[in-house]
Symmetry: C2
Subunit: 206 residues, 2 copies
């Protein structure tokens, strides 16, 4: 039991540091030795716990990335309230975290999607699965919104989802670079503008 705890602790440490470095430097540009140096651990330790670099990365995705994704972008939009409000607040919070915490892993996914696209189908599968969950949740959120009279019935829910995901991925790529706070503000204003155009008159969005 105690042994198992130690095992878990070490693996966790490796994964956390791994994600941090993969995020900052990219997967292909980060060596296992980089991670091990950071932790003062050895090759032996690494390959005792993980099969390969790829296996290691997939475990990071399944443990850390998925969880962050759920807590930051999926759970906050569940519920019977006006989905346009929920999504606005959710993006607002997620982007705020991104502004203040360079290492929020709220959307590492965008980076990795880019890095593995057409290069590593196995890893891509894991990443797309997460995106799919996000998409499904967005779509059903919008549909609930239609049902509850918040969202205009003529609007294509799938379309809204694709559009929202695209914008979010884009702004995240974009915010890292320059004046993140100003860009966040501008982005959110336009999201509200867009939402107004797909809301019902009665729904009272904003």
């Amino acid at each position: 039991m105690d042994k198992n705890l130690k095992r878990m602790a070490t693996m966790q440490r490796m994964q956390v540091t791994g994600l941090e470095l993969f995020y900052k430097q990219g997967y292909y540009n980060t060596s296992i030795d980089d991670i091990l140096k950071e932790l003062s651990l050895s090759k032996g330790a690494f390959y005792h716990h993980f099969e390969s670099k790829e296996d290691f990365f997939i475990q990071i995705v399944e443990n850390l990335v998925v969880r962050k994704m759920y807590s930051m972008l999926i759970e906050p939009i569940e519920g019977p309230d006006n989905p346009l409000e929920l999504i606005t607040n959710c993006f607002e919070n997620a982007l705020e975290t991104a502004v203040h915490n360079e290492l929020d892993f709220g959307f590492v996914l965008g980076n990795f999607l880019n890095e593995f696209n057409g290069r590593n189908p196995k890893i891509m599968k894991h990443l797309s699965d997460i995106i799919k969950v996000w998409e499904v949740n967005l779509v059903s959120s919008i549909q609930r919104g239609k049902f509850n009279g918040y969202v205009n019935r003529h609007i294509d829910s799938e379309g809204v989802a694709v559009f929202l995901m695209s914008s979010y991925i884009g702004i995240r790529t974009f915010m890292v670079e320059n004046a993140p706070s100003a860009r966040k503000y501008r982005f959110m204003t336009q999201i509200r503008q867009y939402f107004k155009s797909i809301a019902t008159k009665e729904g009272a969005y904003n």
Copy 2:
């Protein structure tokens, strides 16, 4: 003169193939040997023409990427017509190219932005400069639209630009992965929806 022509031809060949591979596999994941094998050229040839891998890449950006960027995303939105129409058509075309031609380099920039972010400031500088040109052109296009009565005066031009750029970067990341044509269609529909909401009544957008 002829010598110079040959020099240019070889350099061009290297750059074209280089961009293709860097785009497909990523910069850090593509070796110079990969490129040279493709061209049946030697290390000597490469280092005779370019200082380093980094220098090589920067030249690719300055030659090929900048040009594509201008022809696909900047020039098409210049002109006195309704900028919302111009941008719609521009995105439509750019995304159509993306759907049919896996190697359209219309927005390699998104990939590279991601790959070099926080990793290689020198290269990032070159990439951000291009983005800045795009941004400036979008902003002035929107402002022209306001002036000419196509775009609502209360709208923040900078905001629209940031929002458009984000969405475009996002959809490009997103389209490569799955059902690009359907996603393109959905995306464009929502862009039109958004544009309607920032257009003037008289401007007759759509």
